[in-house]
Amino acid sequence: MPQVAVVQYPGSNCDLDALEVLQKIVRVKTDLVWHKQLTHDNYDGYILPGGFSYGDYLRAGAIAAHSPSLKIVREAAKAGKPVLGICNGFQILVEANLLPGAVLRNANLRFICKWINLRVDNNKTPFTRKMKMGQLLRVPIAHNEGRYYLEPEQIQTLEKNGQVVLRYADNKGDTTMDANPNGSLENIAGICNPDHNVMGLMPHPERASQSELSPYNNAEGRLIFDSMIETIRERNEGRR
């Protein structure tokens, strides 16, 4: 039976939302683990939730990236286990160098909290396998530093490896400038590592996983968690 850890940092504030979705909606055994208590790689998958770890001091995610928990997460990633970073969790993974690039301050210098469309640009990853290519997911964003940046020449490598997983798009699925809320390079909202088992995204799928909590009566966010858990089940069966 899959077992997942939601890693809690000082300043995490979306940890309980992720926990609830996994336990009550996806129905998978999930522990909330304080980052200093994550000392063994005993779980099948890890989620780094959103929030403001260490007050976002120095840079969002920069201090949490030195938490001993990242050593465990790094081992898990190396072993091929799925690791998902949401919002601040994405920033932590970038600062820990588990994902490439940087997540900078929003282009409009404001905290943005709104619902956006995500377009699935790679549905072969452990986090998107239950989606269709080009499918739109309606999920909210809530961040001040969400502007994904990578040196332009490296974007091509990312693209070639299928590492650009999710992009901000309009209702027709076009990645227009208007659909880009924070000035991210090439509308990038979510990326993964070259092995595809570590993904980070700025939007909050855990806030779009129960239709009764969505103004659009949708729950497409849960596809990310469903995909992740399906991947874990498959991995566990393969080991038997």
Binding site: L58, R59, G101, A102, R105, L109, E151, G183
Partner: protein, 98 residues
Amino acid sequence: MVLKTRNQYRTVEVIIQNKPLARDPEGETIHRNLVLKGGYDLVTGVRAGKLLRMTVQAESGQEAENIVRRLCDDLRIYNPVAHSCEVRIVGKEDRITE
């Protein structure tokens, strides 16, 4: 017997800013809405950044600078993908400690 040691405390500044290719909306806004509107047309650009001032116990300015430079790289004080990081000595201070 109390041993008195003479320590030199050096002040080292670390300046972190976005690389030229990574846009800096804060600097752009200060430039456009404050500097240019205030009539300072000769100022053609503003980059905003972050300043860390560190006090380091070291024998020489060079040693202090080397320590800080190393820690900036080791601890990823800046994100090398998006930021440049400048380290410079700004002063020294003598203190007697017992």
